[in-house]
């Protein structure tokens, strides 16, 4: 199972722990990658607000790079998945548009023929690695720990562009949480918005959205939250303290990137997963994981 790894901006910028933890776990799942080191930003839906064709050209350029390698693309960011998945659908279904966008790539001697698929790590784990294989790799049972899935908008909507999860009742991330031995928290906020796209200019609104989702997860008994989108992670982790103040709640809920949760369950040392980079300490969660680790060894008579 080999993919062209599209890192996106955040995993190479403000959430380097996402890239680190991805590289620490994919080998164990049988996923090989070639990193697209010359790929740009996908536009994140923002470039497209000013320049739709320019934004499509950014995605097409990445697709052409992967096409040259003869590989499909693996994304590790929900936002990249939504934007690039949508761009791919548009380019594949509209030959005139593809031609127009390819003209923008011509000076680089690149052209996209429309043969590449774009898949998020979450989807690859569920559909291609398989949940049984994942469960086989689990070394540390997370036991009765409760983890709240936070899907993020772009991996779910518009569902016509994505076609993976049911946009009203998605379950891919819930299934992965179960496969690593933990219990998913069911709460309405799991499909809502983290507020990140407007957090710099409309902080009050974004924090109200963000805080409500975190609080709902916490009230549901969550020991941690997990997300397949680093932009959600920035909102939920970096802004969590402010969100708590805004809504008058003590949140203090560790937020994991998807590959960090996989890594913890597969027994990858916390240091290799970049957990120390979070603003909300993951230590209380790690202690709970460690307790269960010890209990399990006791059961087996190893301690």
């Amino acid at each position: 199972m080999k993919y062209a790894l599209y890192p996106g901006c955040a995993a190479k910028g403000a959430t380097p722990e996402l890239f680190q933890s991805t590289m620490a776990v994919i080998g164990r799942l049988g996923i090989e990658v070639t990193e697209l080191t010359a790929s740009s930003c996908c536009g994140a839906g923002v470039v497209g607000e000013a320049d739709p064709d320019g934004a499509l050209a950014l995605s097409a350029r990445t697709f052409a790079q992967a096409e040259r390698l003869g590989l499909d693309i693996m994304t590790i960011c929900g936002t990249c998945q939504g934007v690039m998945g949508g761009a791919n659908r548009k380019l594949k279904s509209d030959p005139a548009l593809l031609q127009r966008v390819n003209r923008l790539l011509a000076p680089e001697r690149l052209a996209y023929r429309g043969t590449v698929q774009v898949k998020h790590l979450l989807w690859i784990v569920v559909r291609e690695v398989g949940l049984e294989k994942l469960a086989d790799e689990v070394q540390v049972t997370l036991g009765d720990l409760k983890i709240a899935p936070f899907y993020g908008c772009y991996i779910l909507r518009p569902s016509g562009d994505l076609g993976f999860d049911d946009p009203e009742h998605p379950d891919s991330l819930d299934k992965v949480i179960r496969a690593v031995g933990a219990e998913p928290v069911d709460y309405g906020g799991k499909i809502k918005c983290c507020g990140f796209p407007i957090i710099l200019e409309k902080e009050d609104i974004a924090l109200a959205m963000n805080g409500a989702n975190l609080k709902e997860a916490k009230d549901g008994g969550a020991d941690a939250m997990v997300t397949p989108c680093p932009l959600c992670h920035m909102s939920l982790d970096i802004y969590q303290e402010r969100a708590g103040k805004k809504i008058g709640a003590n949140l203090n809920l560790p937020v994991l990137h998807l590959p960090q949760m996989l890594g913890l369950a597969m027994g990858v040392p916390a240091g290799e997963l970049g957990l120390q980079r979070h603003l909300v300490s993951v230590d209380p969660f790690l202690e709970k994981v460690e307790e269960r680790h010890v209990e399990r060894h006791k059961e087996k008579g190893q301690v």
Binding site: A10, G48, C153, R157, G195, I198, R242
Partner: protein, 312 residues
């Protein structure tokens, strides 16, 4: 097949809080949720209150929450909902005041549609061929809107800020901005009026409105076009516009987003805003979460710069 329908009931003058009631009904092939509600009202509980009229997805009266999503009851198949969700849970549109049971007060919705003045203003210019030639294709399907309110009920910003104009009204505003028959000054004042709080820059692009719209209006796409029109008309001073322009500039310079510089692009020269982001910036720096403001993380960013330059 006999199915259970769980329906939220609420009579504000009698009930302290909404509660669910379950009704069992023999379901015939091809039955819609509206058909089922009408039968429940006729056969089991005459007090059950809901709005409907045309029964054919034209009037927009029967929008409600069905299995967690905003839908028109008249075009939602009972069987398909059952297959998809394993049950039927019906409630009123969310985040709007409930009048009784499944009927909500649409007053704030209509108020916002009226607020954007949904009529041609100061239309001195007469386009040959009328509205169609004036650019109906540019209206981006907004004319298909049946004002059912599903997008507003689903809007994640409206949920936390009831003042937000919301997807339906903003999409309608775009339709008039795109109408070539309206004069330049009228168009300018329309765009100017939507720059402030509760206007076009409050949308997070969460795509809920696109997902739930029964008429494929894609309100969010209309909001994005509205933003583009605003930037092209010189409304570049708001945080939202600065975000879009600054983001594009950073991609043209680094190829990828530089998170060290992005906040500065949005806040500009405001000391107050700078002091607001500074503490988080310092904490991120200490955690190794602030990339170098001098270097790109990709190979060959100059090629991306050249690509985006070709677009200008």
């Amino acid at each position: 097949m006999r199915l259970a329908f769980t329906i939220q009931r609420y009579h504000p003058e009698l009930d302290a809080a909404p509660h669910d009631e379950t009704y069992r009904l023999d379901v015939a092939r091809g039955m819609t949720v509206l058909d089922a509600l009408i039968r429940i009202k006729n056969e089991q509980d005459g007090r059950l209150t809901f709005r409907y009229s045309c029964r054919s997805a034209i009037c927009g009266s029967c929008s409600m929450t069905i299995n967690g999503g905003e839908k028109l009851a008249c075009r939602t198949s009972v069987r398909r909902e059952w297959e998809r969700h394993g049950g039927l849970i019906v409630g009123p549109l969310r985040h709007l005041p409930v009048l009784k049971d499944l009927s909500v007060d649409m007053g704030s919705f209509w108020g916002k549609v009226r607020a954007i003045e949904p009529w041609l203003r100061d239309s001195g210019r007469q386009a040959a061929g009328g509205a169609l030639a004036a650019g109906a294709s540019r209206f981006h399907n907004v004319d298909a809107c049946i004002m059912c309110g599903a997008c507003v009920a689903a809007c994640t910003v409206h949920e936390v800020d009831k003042g937000f104009l919301g997807p339906a009204a903003l999409a309608k505003a775009y339709r008039f901005v795109a109408d070539a028959r309206e004069s330049g000054p009228a168009r300018t004042s329309r765009l100017a009026a939507l720059q402030g709080p509760t206007g076009m820059w409050d949308c997070t692009r969460c795509n809920f409105c696109v997902e739930v719209c029964p008429k494929d209006v894609q309100p969010m796409e209309a909001i994005i076009r509205l933003r583009r029109e605003a930037i092209e008309s010189g409304h570049t001073g708001t945080g939202g516009a600065r975000h879009v322009v600054g983001f594009r500039d950073l991609i043209a310079r680094f190829g990828r987003l530089n998170e060290a510089l992005m906040p500065l692009k949005v806040i500009g020269w405001s000391l107050r805003k700078f002091l607001r982001v500074l503490p988080l910036g310092v904490r991120m720096l200490l955690k190794g979460k602030v990339p170098s403001p001098l270097h790109s993380s990709m190979d060959g960013p100059e090629r991306v710069r050249a690509l985006l330059e070709r677009r200008r």
